[in-house]
């Protein structure tokens, strides 16, 4: 019997897609026989724009590369410029950066939780976690003056001093979130209906995954404890204690469990940062010739671990005030193309959003 194959576009206007991208699906019934990812609905040409801006002007763009978690971009940009220019950052500024990065990671995980639960129609979790993320954004607002785009981690340090009583408020928020995480366990992670949907779906497995350049929860969900904070430490992560949670099943549920444990680790890191942060110290190393700051003709590569995987920046200076080339590599580029496309084949239409969310695919960083 000949069965008819229909082609549909899952996105860019679809509640089940993670941002402005689309997956072209060939369906036989509800089973996917072929998937192709399309991007380009959000291309803003940041890499090109950066080439004709001075370094401090370029700094304000990079946070827009990833909406759910902008700070790894700022950190990457600052780290790359500092490495090229040979600038040392004070210990206090480094601690503040770690704090900002971990707060952003926690916020990004809560946002992921909203997306992941939404993809299985469990809207309650999303409503809760977006509220809890908002509490983190409130703190960001006090610290940086902005809720989503912080533009805070600056080459040479951070832009503003901590407001009065900030660490106490952060500490109180961590206590609150710790309690909330138990509620999320009951409603979401341990929920039998979510387990039924997530276990055994979107399985990534085998030694091969290391060679294919995957990162983040995809690796940790199939048993490889890879985390750049530990493997290739930046800032002060080598002085902080934290575990790298792993799971072995490699499916959507394993990745969810990894993220659940990572939220607790983030809280643990933040508590250490609060305890260890030096009270005095400069937060900013002034850039020489601030507005006409130049980079030598050299290149470098820096990478940080974002909430979804490895974020790498290649940066080349050419002796002028502009950056010759800055190329961004987010985890999504590989995940959305060379992982998602084969992974979707044979799955049901109802699992597309589920898998896509669990891989942490975020189009803005594919088409910077």
């Amino acid at each position: 019997m000949e069965r008819k194959v229909i082609t549909i576009y899952h996105g860019p206007q679809h509640p089940g897609i993670t941002g402005n991208m689309s997956v072209e699906l060939d369906l036989m019934g509800e089973t996917i026989t072929r998937a192709r990812t399309h991007v380009g609905y959000l291309h803003r040409g940041f890499e090109k724009l950066i080439e004709r801006r001075t370094i401090i002007q370029a700094f304000t763009i990079v946070c827009r590369i990833c909406v759910p978690e902008p700070d790894p971009n700022e950190a990457n940009f600052a780290l790359a410029v500092e490495r090229l220019a040979g600038i040392e950052v004070s210990e206090r500024a480094s601690y503040i950066r770690v704090m900002v990065l971990e707060m952003a990671r926690l916020g990004a995980q809560l946002l992921w939780m909203a997306g992941q639960s939404g993809s299985v129609g469990l809207g309650t979790v999303g409503q809760w976690s977006i509220y809890d993320r908002d509490l983190i954004l409130d703190l960001f607002e006090q610290l940086t003056g902005g809720r989503v785009y912080h533009m805070y981690i600056y080459p040479g340090g951070v832009r503003r001093e901590l407001p009065d009583g900030f660490l106490e408020r952060l500490s109180a928020l961590l206590d609150y979130l710790q309690k909330r995480l138990d509620a999320y366990d009951r409603l979401f992670f341990d929920n039998a209906s979510f387990q039924k949907r997530a276990i055994g779906v979107g399985v990534v497995r085998g030694e091969e995954v290391l060679r294919r350049g995957f990162s983040g929860q995809v690796l940790r969900g199939c048993g490889f404890a890879r985390d750049l904070r530990r493997d290739n430490p930046y800032l002060l992560y080598d002085q902080l204690e934290f575990d790298i949670p792993t799971q072995s099943a490699g499916d959507v549920y394993a990745r969810a469990l990894v993220r659940r444990a990572e939220m607790r680790e983030s809280i643990r890191i933040l508590r250490q940062v609060i305890a260890q942060m030096p009270e005095e110290g400069a937060i900013m190393q002034k850039l020489p010739k601030h507005r006409k700051f130049t980079l030598p003709k050299e290149d470098t590569y820096v990478a940080v671990e974002s909430a979804r995987g490895e974020f790498g920046y290649y940066m080349a200076g050419d002796g002028s005030e502009m950056i010759r080339r800055m190329q961004v590599k987010g985890p999504s580029l590989i995940h959305a193309f060379s992982l998602l496309e084969p992974l979707l084949v044979g799955e049901e239409l109802s699992n597309v959003a589920l898998i896509m969310n669990s891989l942490g695919i975020c189009p803005p960083e594919i088409e910077r």
Binding site: Q142, P163, L187, D190, A192, I199
Partner: protein, 130 residues
């Protein structure tokens, strides 16, 4: 695969939320507290603005125009110009306030402006001492 009864019933504990007061704000009636240092609209203290156009130079979005003012409030304003910002282009990075030599240009907490004509979004910063 084993699904425990506990995992099937535990989600019902979430229903205790209905006995709590909702967390959201009823927006127009109740507003969230404004934060000092929020990157909202611009204010410019004309008594100290020197019209140096540093803000215009640093703005990567070319959002700032320097326009002439009728009467000089500040004798140190050499050019007789003050900044005006195109809010269709501004990204509120606050670099302009960072590079302002007399610190006259600032951002305030106010941040709401609705209009039906996009061409009206040329913002003259309020003259407020900071």
């Amino acid at each position: 695969m084993k699904f425990e009864l506990k995992n099937s019933l535990a989600p019902l504990s979430a229903l205790s939320k209905i006995f709590e007061h909702p967390q959201t704000l009823c927006y127009p009636e109740v507003k969230s507290e404004t934060v000092s240092g929020y990157r909202g609209f611009h204010i410019n203290d004309l008594s100290t603005c020197i019209g140096c156009a540093n803000c215009q130079d640093v703005c990567m979005n070319e959002a700032i125009d320097m326009i002439a003012i009728d009467k000089d409030k500040n004798p140190k304003n050499n050019s007789g110009c003050i900044p005006r910002i195109d809010y269709g282009r501004c990204c509120w990075c606050s670099l302009c306030t960072d590079v302002c030599p007399p610190d006259s240009l600032k951002l305030e907490s106010e941040c709401i402006w609705a209009d039906d004509d996009a061409n009206r979004f040329l913002y003259q910063p309020k003259d407020k001492p900071c």
